[in-house]
Symmetry: C2
Subunit: 333 residues, 2 copies
Amino acid sequence: MQSRFFTLSRYPEGRPERELFQLETQTLPDLAPGEVRIRNHWLSVDPYMRGRMTGLHTYVPPFELGKPMEGGAVGEVIASRDERLKEGDLVGHMGGWRDIAQISSASVQVLPDFGVAEQAYLGVLGMPGMTAWTGLNRIANCQPGDNVLVSAASGAVGSLAVQLAKAKGCHVVGIAGAANKLAWLESLHIEPVSYRDRSAEELGDAIQLASPKGIDVVFENVGGTCLEAALSQLNEGARIAVCGMIDSYNAKTPVPGPSNLAQLVVRKARMQGFIVADHWQHYPDFLKEVAPQVVDGKLDYKETVKEGLENTPDAFLALFDGDNTGKMLVKLN
Amino acid sequence: MQSRFFTLSRYPEGRPERELFQLETQTLPDLAPGEVRIRNHWLSVDPYMRGRMTGLHTYVPPFELGKPMEGGAVGEVIASRDERLKEGDLVGHMGGWRDIAQISSASVQVLPDFGVAEQAYLGVLGMPGMTAWTGLNRIANCQPGDNVLVSAASGAVGSLAVQLAKAKGCHVVGIAGAANKLAWLESLHIEPVSYRDRSAEELGDAIQLASPKGIDVVFENVGGTCLEAALSQLNEGARIAVCGMIDSYNAKTPVPGPSNLAQLVVRKARMQGFIVADHWQHYPDFLKEVAPQVVDGKLDYKETVKEGLENTPDAFLALFDGDNTGKMLVKLN
């Protein structure tokens, strides 16, 4: 049996070129003991993957050049040499960027059976959902009645952060760009604020209009102007959960940080970075709280779907243009 | 009886001009019930006072234009209409920037009797010492064995932060400028690092040499290049206590922040601003721990002393030139 997969030919500077991603084909060897073979149905592409394309070891090791790339995926077991997994099982795993994954079974998880679509485990009930929940609750200690600001509020993580905060009884402001994204936020009774053509000061003024009582919790996905504007509106004791700073991921030269960081002192505020993997022991708590909301249709989760393995790099690159609403996924045929 | 005091004639932009500070004289009225009259011996000037010269209400209200300025002071009670205080008592209070203070007794504290010089209660055993202790222990959760970085390490607060961290069993790096300050740090077995003529990257390299195992705790007084260099050297789970950002206090135009704030995510680090006043209920704990170190001569605290009330503005302005080693004080005759 053959597997088609993507490799990275070198580490990019700035925005990755499409040509760096090579589609290769390999004939799979026989399954070794403890291995499993999975036909992938859905692949995940995520902004954090840019951090694995640098050659620097950060919190996840870099992609190895010339080796199959990795990423979240869900699919169906088609062969197994681990008795825990059997043919037909629907599983989640990290053997993405390929159609057929043959990997160690150790990190392969059978999907829970909540009766939701399987790709939900790459989004609302997977890493992005868990990230939103962790940042709000475990990092920012979000409480009912808080005034919450979320940047990239229609992205995979942000679109869930705004809704989880709203469900908690918060006043929620979401920053986005495109008109359809702002309209979607408004439809959920989230205050929409556009960052387009606005300086940090202008964006700060717009946030103030949308949240006249200031901001207690920031869920930061972007950095740059969004963070500077957020800092200008903090209440005393505000908490900023820093999930990402997509603004700087493709920068070739250093992007200056916010000029008003001293607001952390004035407002006695806390800014804290986090990586969801460190909090995975709380995944059952997350599922318990959020899965019923998904089943009951109370969480409006969006997906942007590209079809076909060969379009995986384009799906990934589109993340940096804000082309997705909600979770960006690749559907395999 | 007459009181001589300073007023501010308008709120400055950028570095305050000497001419903004007016020395005025007033004949004091008779003492009202609950008031006390104090002959000041020592006045404190501190960087935070710049924040009271903006007309904006931040965490302390601005100085009122044309009214006596305020600040930490110690002196001797010369008349009292509060039975708690009697003539001859040595007291600490906020009626500084003047020679004779006539104020409500409510916020006047009799100095504890540890047998140390009275001006110590404006420095090592006062607000700066309490700030160093609070930032290290209560904000950054500094533990024995941590690698600690302190900017403005020979300043009033920094010089105590380095020593308290050292006494706790930490590896301590101190950033300073002048050769005599670096030599002083070295004499205390603190790794001295100069920021002079160094880019953030170069300063980061120097910190790495001085602390090859990275940085677990940052006590930040400066911001700017110092903070960017510190961010580049963080270990996972690092804590940054932000005490101040003196770099930006006199800026007329916004100073860009560090370009590598995303390190907070990569290193899962926490950056938290604080104001010592919020932690004052722990002052007795601080005194219990630190006063014996002062009495036993284990804390090498420095003072820079200007003589005479009329030199108070110059003493204050010199803070922004790094002219002081340790606590800047004004001694009255």
